[in-house]
Amino acid sequence: MTDAVTFRGVSRHFGDVRAVDRVDLAIRDGEFFAMLGPSGSGKTTCLRLIAGFEQPTAGEIEIFGTSARGVPPYLRNVNTVFQNYALFPHMNVRDNVAFGLRVRGMGRRERHAAAEEALALVELSGFGARRAGELSGGQRQRVALARALINRPRVVLLDEPLGALDLKLREQMQEELRALQARLGLTFVLVTHDQDEALSLADRVAVFAEGRIRQLGTPAQIYRRPASRFVADFVGSSNVIPAEVAGIGAPGQWASLRPEDIRLDPAGQAARVTGRFFHGRVTKLTLELRGQRLSALIPAQQAAPEAGAEVRIAWSPEHLHLLEAEA
């Protein structure tokens, strides 16, 4: 089976800025793919390269095996859900959703029917006559999704679609997105800087930094076996500690240790609690251990020590993960 999107040595430079730098990538047909990385790492640029808003400075992009060189956005069967939704303010919801069909010359009656169907898909039946300005953030996001899906694109690109939503709504939309993707069997490419979102939604995740892919793998691989200190640090707030303190590897090496893998243990090493934060089901402790700042998560059932207390902590060696030296 051909891959949905292939990058071969793709670069996109803006003057001196290497927004995307020699990226090789293959996104499989039908998978939920996430691009994760800090701000400015080139995620959006990658998406824009796929959509056709940018042309690579070097390298080759293929979409379902066909070269995309010089193909303008409106000829690519790829649709985008923009970060700020980019709904057309002068149209109502129905016309927004039906836009893709209108430009393809479909008649009014037919495209309205199709729009209603697409709205039903995102559970917005009956909102067709509203203006975009009269919708809440979550509703707008779903309109943008319906608008992208109505064209039945082969690839759906989502640029931080949930960034502007509040926590509660974000979680709900995440579930809906995932369910929709599974149901329609389309290829979804999601850009996000929220590691939790990437890990929970995607089949595979590419971690970006400075225009390059630092690690590509399943969420579990990325979370449990981060390839580098950067990845360990960025994906789930890991403790990155020198090998000497960790007790494995050679001096100069670093190891990662997840906060939830640190436990209070009277037989462990002495550390000082510098802060305590109640998070409901867990309590987060910030600790100081031999000059290293660590954070640990203690299940809420357990009594957590006060800030300032001296505690003893331990971890099982199998939770330590030795990091490769930074590139």
């Binding site: 303008p72 956005p73 409106y74 649709n79 303010p89 893709g100 430009v103």
Partner: protein, 315 residues
């Protein structure tokens, strides 16, 4: 330290702060004071004078002595409806409409280019290009155009050099808009009006276009709209309020001008000239007033429509 400072400070001394404070605490009074001068000047004096003018249109002029008879009558309106006067109204409204349309068409590429693509020095150049005509004397510009359009003027000269005189002649041969030369034709009047008022269309249009998020155009392309469709379905509707705002200027300025058609054109009167003439002619003020009713009604309807399109925000 948190216990030392008071939780609530004593009021400040001084008359001015106290006065400002009073006003701020009475927001209604404050707003009232802010809009009072404008209401007095525009709402009472200006609108009052307009109404007084309109009332005059219901008076008539005594045919024998030429004096104004201050009795209510519709006679003056009867006079307004004479064919010669109707011609003037029609001619003016059609001209104003044509100028407005043409200004919109002509302003669009300039405004769009300046809003979207021009950067750095080019942006400055476009800005200057729009502002300079605004700053050079209206009258001198009109007279300069006379030289451009004359039979032995610059345009003719250029056409002759390009061996295109036949094209110009063919154009001038067209009925109604043509004439003996551009400078004595409706086409010439139109061109000069267009030139003089174009900047007033470009500015609001550009302001509206700057505010169209580029993301929307990308979204349209992403959904399969080719550039023409993006233009028609996205850019144009979103720029429309700016265009309507600009058209308020071009339309009204053309409607009331009495200098351009006197210098460039075929001597057929435009509304502004008619008003000027009737008003100046030792007093057919009723007829002059009746003439002004037309632009007031036309602009009233226009403004009403424009406000519904949100054009006031884009002026």
């Amino acid at each position: 330290m948190s216990t030392e400072a008071p939780a609530i400070f004593a009021p400040r001394p001084g008359l001015l702060p106290r006065l400002a404070d009073r006003l701020l605490r009475r927001p209604r009074m404050f707003v009232f004071l802010m809009v009072l001068p404008i209401t007095l000047w525009l709402g009472i004096v200006y609108v009052g004078a307009l109404i007084a003018l309109l009332i005059q249109s219901f008076f008539s002029i005594d045919e024998f002595s030429g004096m104004v008879v201050r009795e209510f009558t519709l006679k003056t309106y009867g006079e307004l409806l004479r064919p010669a006067n109707l011609d003037i109204l029609l001619r003016t409204v059609v001209m104003a409409g044509a100028v407005t349309l043409a200004a919109a068409v002509m302003a669009f590429p300039i405004a769009y280019f300046a809003a979207r693509y021009a950067r750095g020095i080019w942006k400055a150049l476009f800005y200057v290009g729009v502002m300079l005509p605004l700053w050079s004397s209206y009258l001198v510009k009109v007279y300069a155009w006379k030289l451009v359009l004359a039979k032995e003027g610059i345009l003719n000269w250029i056409f002759a050099k390009l061996h295109l005189t036949w094209a110009l002649d063919a154009f001038l041969g067209l009925p109604v808009i043509g004439g003996n030369s551009l400078s004595v034709s409706y086409a010439g009047t139109f061109l000069v009006f267009l030139y003089i008022w174009l900047p007033y269309m470009i500015m609001p249009l550009q302001a509206a276009l700057v505010r169209v998020p580029p993301g929307l155009i990308e979204a349209a392309a992403d959904l399969g709209a080719h550039p023409g469709q993006s233009f028609r379905m996205i850019i144009l509707p979103l720029a429309l309020p700016g265009m309507v705002a600009g058209s308020i200027f071009t339309f009204s300025l053309t409607l009331g001008d009495y200098i351009v058609p006197q210098i460039i054109g075929n001597s057929r009167l435009f509304l502004g000239q008619a008003v000027y003439l009737q008003h100046g002619t030792a007093g057919n003020i009723p007829l002059a007033a009746a003439f002004t009713v037309v632009p007031i009604v036309v602009m009233g309807l226009y403004l009403w429509g424009a406000r519904r399109m949100g054009a006031f925000d884009a002026l």
